[in-house]
Each structure stands twice: as C-alpha cells, then as structure tokens.
C-alpha cells in the first residue's frame, strides 16, 4: 500500500497521460477533465490496492477505464447526464473496404478534432486499445494488463480498431471531398 502523499504525486505525474486517454474515450476536453478528476479520486480511495513498485501508469489507466465504464452504465440508469450518443457502446458497422494509395497525405487533411471525432466512433475498448498502443506506445502485454484481456486479443483488437478508424476517416474524406481533390 502506498502512502497517500506519494500516491498523489504519482497521479499528478501521470496527469497528461490520463488526460489524453480520457480525451480518447470521451472525445471532449471538458468531459475528459472530469473523468481525470474522478479517476484521481478513485486512485486515492483505492490506495490500499496499489502495490509500491508495480506499474503506476497501468494501474491508473485501468482505474480510468473502469471509471469511464461505470459512468456510461450510470448514464443509462439515471438519465442523460452524458448525451445519449456518447453513452452508446456501439459495435462497429460494416463499412466498405478501403484502400489508401497516399495514406499520410490523406490523414493530413483532417484536423485533430476530426481525428478524435472519428476515434470516438469506435467501440470503447477498441479505441482505448488503439490509443494505448499507438499513442502511448505501451507494448501489447502492458495493454493486456490494463484491459485485463489476453495479449492475442489486444493484437487483433488493435488491428481491427486501426482498420475501422481508417474506414471511418475514408468515409469522412469522401463526404468532405478530400478524396476527389487528391485524385484530381
């Protein structure tokens, strides 16, 4: 068990990581900040479950993920504190297969907000998996520990999430006319 002050320092040290992960989950800065605060409070409440020397970042990310799931479930029970569309853990639809001949160029057409918006269209666990792997650079075993699933599941989930994200972005690119512009 860590003492409260040490743990508070650890939480503050990882605030950027928590905020980015929260933004990946919520898609909105203000909601992400609320989620970070709730996560920090849960970390303090659950200090006795933390073993000094273990991976603090993974432990905090796990609390954040569980807090988000609780919040989404809670929203379903008590009403629309979270807009209804945010509370949906929608499964992926079946978009058309896509192939990019110039992926990097196409991606540069999107603003950061549009990328985050497209990420928000992925199911919760897919987008957190993709975020932890691609943005935070956690290895598959670390992500598996955070999300409490097998390493093999993380690999396939990451690949599917990335594919789904590209498909979503490609659909948006068509809607916004990026694809036609690049083909001219």
């Amino acid at each position: 068990m860590a003492d409260s002050e040490t743990l508070r320092d650890e939480v503050v040290e990882h605030l950027d990581t928590l905020l980015r992960a929260a933004l990946a989950l919520t898609g909105r800065r203000e909601r992400a900040e609320d989620l970070v605060q709730a996560t920090a409070l849960k970390a303090i409440e659950g200090a006795r479950t933390f073993r000094p020397g273990s991976n603090v970042r993974a432990w905090l990310l796990r609390i954040l993920r569980n807090t988000w799931i609780d919040e989404v479930r809670h929203a379903r029970v008590v009403g629309p504190t979270i807009p209804a569309e945010e509370a949906l853990l929608a499964g992926p639809e079946e978009p058309e297969p896509t192939s990019w001949s110039n992926a990097a160029d196409l991606l540069e057409n999107f603003s950061d907000e549009q990328i985050i918006g497209a990420l928000r269209e992925l199911p919760d666990d897919q987008r957190l998996t993709l975020y932890l792997t691609d943005v935070e650079g956690l290895d598959h075993a670390e992500v598996a520990k955070v999300l409490d699933v097998a390493v093999g599941t993380i690999k396939s989930r990451t690949a599917r999430a990335r594919t789904l994200l590209r498909q979503r972005l490609h659909a948006h690119a068509r809607d916004l006319g990026f694809v036609e512009r690049m083909q001219q």
């Binding site: 409260s4 002050e5 508070r8 939480v11 503050v12 605030l15 950027d16 928590l18 905020l19 980015r20 933004l23 990946a24 203000e30 900040e33 609320d34 970070v36 605060q37 709730a38 920090a40 409070l41 849960k42 970390a43 303090i44 409440e45 807090t67 609780d70 919040e71 479930r73 809670h74 008590v78 009403g79 629309p80 504190t81 192939s99 990019w100 992926a103 990097a104 991606l107 540069e108 999107f110 950061d112 990328i115 985050i116 990420l119 993709l130 975020y131 691609d134 943005v135 290895d139 598959h140 093999g152 690999k155 396939s156 990451t158 690949a159 599917r160 990335r162 994200l165 590209r166």
Partner: protein, 265 residues
C-alpha cells in the same frame, strides 16, 4: 505464404516480427502497403494527441480534490464522536480540505482562472462531478423520497434542506455531505428531463459567489453563470443558499430552485 494476418502485422508494427513474416513483408507489395497505412495512421494519432497536456488549472483542481479526499479518508466501520451530526474526524478533514482549497484554488483564481468563469462555478462543477461519481460507486445515501433525503441530511448537518416539491419534474435520488470552502455542505442529486443536476446547500450568500448574471423571478433573486458547460444557478432560501449545478440550461436549474419547498424551521 498467404498474406500476413492481423497478429503478424501487429508484431511487425511493434518491431517484433517472426522472421518468416518479415521476409514476406519485404516481398509482398500488398502487405507492405497495409503496413504503411497502419504506420501513417499511428503517426497521425500520435500527432493528434501530442499537444494535449493537463493545464495548470486542471492540476490544481485535481490536487485539491485529492487532498480533500485524503483528508476526509473514509473509515465507515469505526464509531466516531460526533459534532453537529458529523464525526469529529470529518470536521478535521473538512478543515484540511478548507486549507487546501484556500492554498490552491484562491491563488489559482487570481492568476490562472478564466476571467469569464467564476471560481465558485468551477468548484460547484467539481462537486457535481464528485456527486455523480460517488452515486455511480454507490457511496451516496440513495432514496427517491424527498422526506428521506431531508431527514438523512438533517441527521448529518442539523437542518433539513428544502426539497423539490414537484417530484414529477424533479426527482431526488441520492444525497451526501461535501465540503465547500471548508464548510460542510448538504448536496443531493435531482433527476430532471434535461439531465441530472446537483443541488448544493451552502451558508455563503449568493451575491458573494461571483456568479455574473442576476435576475428576478417570482419575487426572488436568482444568480447564475452559464459561461461553462456545467452551469450554476443560486437562490437564497432562509438561512442558506441553494445552488443548482449541471450540464443543463440555466432556465432548467432555476425551474428546480423555484419549486423547492421551504426548509423546515
């Protein structure tokens, strides 16, 4: 060899490929294109989040909340000596929370807080967030009976706060005692058609909260702040100020406050 599967592609991206998969990727245009797309997506995601950092205001807010939480430290099974309905250790916790709030939030208000959002609004938003989080965790006193909520809070604070009179449009669901500026504040959650909001009952007069807007309705004066996503409205009833807080329009907050039945004397 057939094209690389998801696992092999992920191993390649992670820099830990099987030798056979690495050889295939070198020779296969289709798989190399898949890898290039995945790498481009990964790079774009990284750049998207690269500029996201916690602001000084968020750091201060989280530190203050954690300090208050640590000071309040729950020990539910130990009997406590009580003062005005609160365990003695809670009073010391609240005092510590007050010191933290003064030490962290006041300088923040002077130097960092956005001028368009009152400090009280930020604190109320934080309290509302904690209410939702605690309710989700099942750690608030839960009841849909306004009388039961009022009685519970009376047992904790020595007075029964006003409750929504029209339970059709504003249904209470849970309550607890939180700390506002170091003082114990009764608070309860109300479910409305527009969303869930918190009613927070404090001693400070509403005109001392720094809420920027003010209007009259039904012979009462309401103060409000709609500058942030989490909005606040406040009204004085008897010896207390009732603050409604939530991500709903100010009008909805005022509607709830306007229908509070007077507190017991």
């Amino acid at each position: 060899m057939t094209h690389l599967n998801e696992t092999q592609l992920e191993d390649l991206l992670a820099g830990q490929p099987e030798p056979q998969a690495a050889r295939h990727a070198e020779a296969c245009d289709a798989c190399r294109a898949c890898l290039d797309e995945a790498r481009a997506t990964r790079e774009r995601l990284r750049s998207t989040f690269a500029g996201v950092t916690a602001s000084a205001a968020l750091r201060a807010r989280v530190q203050a909340a954690m300090g208050a939480e640590a000071a309040l430290g729950r020990q539910p099974h130990r009997p406590h000596m009580r003062v005005f309905g609160l365990p003695v250790n809670r009073w010391s916790g609240l005092a510590a929370a007050a010191v933290l709030a003064l030490a962290v939030l006041v300088p923040l208000a002077m130097q960092l807080a956005k001028p368009e959002t009152a400090l009280a609004t930020q604190e109320f938003a934080a309290l509302h967030g904690r209410n939702l989080e605690r309710h989700a965790a099942g750690s608030m006193f839960a009841s849909e009976q306004p009388g039961a909520i009022a009685e519970h809070l009376k047992g904790r604070l020595g007075f029964a706060p006003a409750m929504p009179a029209d339970t059709e449009t504003a249904a209470v669901c849970a309550c607890c005692v939180q700390s506002f500026k170091g003082d114990a504040a009764a608070t309860y959650l109300v479910r409305t058609q527009q969303g869930v909001l918190s009613v927070i009952v404090i001693r400070d007069p509403p005109d001392a909260l720094g809420l920027p807007d003010r209007h009259e309705r039904g012979g009462k004066t309401y103060w409000s702040d709609a500058s942030a996503a989490c909005r606040v409205a406040a009204v004085r009833l008897g010896e207390h100020t009732y603050c409604a807080v939530g991500r709903v329009p100010v009008e909805s907050l005022v509607d709830v406050l306007a229908k509070l039945s007077p507190p017991e004397q």
